[in-house]
């Protein structure tokens, strides 16, 4: 499934909630079930600059695919991280670089797409793309 299809599926899941609070309940549940990042990656080097909450992102290549794992100190942010990992992890660099950040707009989550907002999620997205640009063996 392409990145775009994955995003559309996720958007479909989120659209099932009539009540916005139910939608956030779902995001929080995703946040609660996000696997904790190994403590050795929760350091300054892996910290993504954010204004509201902290995010740590570790990226590496395995079997020719880029893998992302991340963590955050706030639950909703953890839920958003879980979504981004579901969308972008285990992809080739071409798949990531051919996708557009604006594809995420269909999710209707202002926390992700608000342009220029200094939040950890926006910075994490930038790092996801930056890593894909820099890495050569995936």
């Amino acid at each position: 499934m392409s990145i775009k299809e994955d995003i559309e599926n996720l958007a479909f899941e989120l659209e099932l909630f009539d009540d916005v609070m139910d939608k956030y309940e779902y995001i929080i549940e995703m946040g609660k079930s996000l696997k904790d990042l190994n403590a050795k990656y929760k350091t300054e080097i892996y910290r993504v600059q954010g204004c509201q909450s902290q995010v740590w992102l570790h990226a590496y290549v395995k079997k020719g695919q880029i893998r992302y794992e991340a963590d955050g100190d706030a639950l909703i942010v953890r839920g958003l991280i879980a979504m981004l990992i579901r969308i972008y992890s285990k992809r080739s660099r071409e798949e990531i670089l051919q996708s557009e950040i604006s594809d995420l707009e269909v999710l209707g989550l202002s926390e992700i797409i608000t342009a220029g907002r200094q939040n950890g999620i926006a910075s994490m997205l930038k790092r996801i793309y930056d890593y894909a640009k820099e890495v050569h063996d995936a």
Binding site: M21, I28, S53, D73, A74, L75, I76
Partner: protein, 391 residues
């Protein structure tokens, strides 16, 4: 007019069913302010302090009349009031035109906003921090000792903390600082909307304010400075309408305040600022209303398990900060926002005090004249829902 009757004056609330409790960041604007701005643009839009046509004169009169209104509102003379883009620019102006080169040390309180830290840092000044007690109040004894060690320094202190609502005893602090021949600036960004300001009574050397925190337009504020200080200061920026004479090699400048107002000014915003100040003056009970809301919010918040309140001191106004044990402040703000309650979470541009307290940030409720106990009830109800979802 009483505060309880004023909400109808703010068109924002007729258009949006939102509970707005982020007033320390910026306030909504009453119709009279929008009308004043609109009247300038639709009836007498022209540049000030130049040319001789009638329209320009009308704009200049309105602009200078606004200066008079705002100066009077804080107990100053018109010639002592310089328009700036806001409190931040006012502090930068003082840092550049008065402090840099004349002082080596600036004394700040722990509660300062980044706007009252960075301008001094950027000019390479040595910063000393005034000690505080457990209630976040300035430790007067500690301040005294710091003044003994650093006489003839510059002192810059917030009147009311934007993150915790603490009111500093500025009159007492200024008097003490003057004993040691220090010059004092007060950051009045939060104070203008919440307390009576009399710059002469407190004997401030400089006092900085912003219009948008007091129901006025964004992008405009003012610096009060004692005239003898302003007249010693070189211009902050060069440009149109602040000169007596210019050649390609030299220039002489107008007297304050025009010396500091280079280029076309934010004329509409200045006029809107005065309309805002006049509007606030028409509200009889703004301060007691604020206290009532603060007391009510505090007592309601205290009933919630695991709430840590940071505004326990008696001398607080305008805003309340709290955290919830085990819950991130950003999660609270997002979930409240989804329930149409807008408040601020985070470090409130005051990272040093957050670090001192060992916290990443807080949730902050900040009040204005149009807020009511019902707003607080809605917030508490939404807060319970958020806590349940996050637990």
């Amino acid at each position: 007019m009483k505060s309880r009757d004023c909400k109808k004056d703010f068109p924002f609330f007729s258009n949006e069913s939102i509970t707005y409790l982020d007033n320390a960041a910026t306030t909504q604007k009453p119709q009279v302010v929008l009308d004043a701005v609109n009247a300038y643009y639709t009836h007498y839009c022209s540049n000030t302090h130049r040319g001789s046509h009638d329209l320009g004169n009308q704009a200049t009169i309105a602009y200078e009349k606004s200066r008079e209104v705002i100066a009077q509102f804080i107990g100053a003379e018109s010639r002592e009031l310089v328009f700036t883009r806001g409190t931040t620019e006012a502090i930068n102006l003082v840092a550049q035109s008065f402090v840099a080169g004349n002082f080596s040390t600036v004394l700040l309180s722990h509660l300062e906003h980044h706007s009252n830290i960075l301008p001094w840092q950027m000019h390479g000044l040595n910063i000393e921090v005034i000690p505080m007690d457990d209630n976040l109040n300035i430790d007067i004894e500690g301040f005294h000792e710091l003044l003994q060690e650093n006489p003839k320094s510059f002192v810059s202190i917030t009147h009311i903390s934007n993150a915790f609502g603490i009111i500093n005893p500025v009159k007492e602090l200024i008097a003490l600082a003057h004993e040691y021949e220090c010059v004092v600036l007060i950051d009045g960004a939060q104070a203008l909307a919440h307390t009576t300001i009399d710059v002469k009574d407190i004997n401030a050397d400089f006092y900085a304010v912003s219009a948008h925190k007091v129901y006025g337009p964004t992008g405009i504020g003012a610096l009060y400075g004692k005239y003898e200080l302003l007249s010693q200061m070189p211009p902050y920026q060069g440009g149109g309408s602040m000169i007596k004479d210019v050649t390609f090699h030299d220039a002489t400048f107008l007297d304050p305040p025009l010396r500091f107002e280079a280029g076309t000014q934010a004329i509409a915003q200045v006029i809107g600022f005065a309309a805002a100040v006049n509007y606030l003056s028409s509200i009889e009970d703004s301060q007691s209303h604020d206290k009532e809301l603060m007391d009510y919010a505090k007592s309601e918040l205290k009933r919630i398990d695991n709430v840590i309140l940071y505004s326990e001191a008696e001398n607080v106004c305008g805003n309340i900060s709290f955290t919830l044990h085990g819950i991130h402040h950003d999660d609270i703000a997002i979930l409240l926002s989804k329930q149409k309650i807008m408040l601020r979470s985070g470090h409130h541009c005051a990272l040093p005090i957050m670090r001192t307290l060992g916290i990443e940030g807080t949730v902050r409720l900040s009040f204005a004249i149009y807020n009511s106990k019902e707003d607080i009830d809605l917030t508490i109800e939404a807060l319970y829902k958020a806590i349940k979802m996050l637990s």
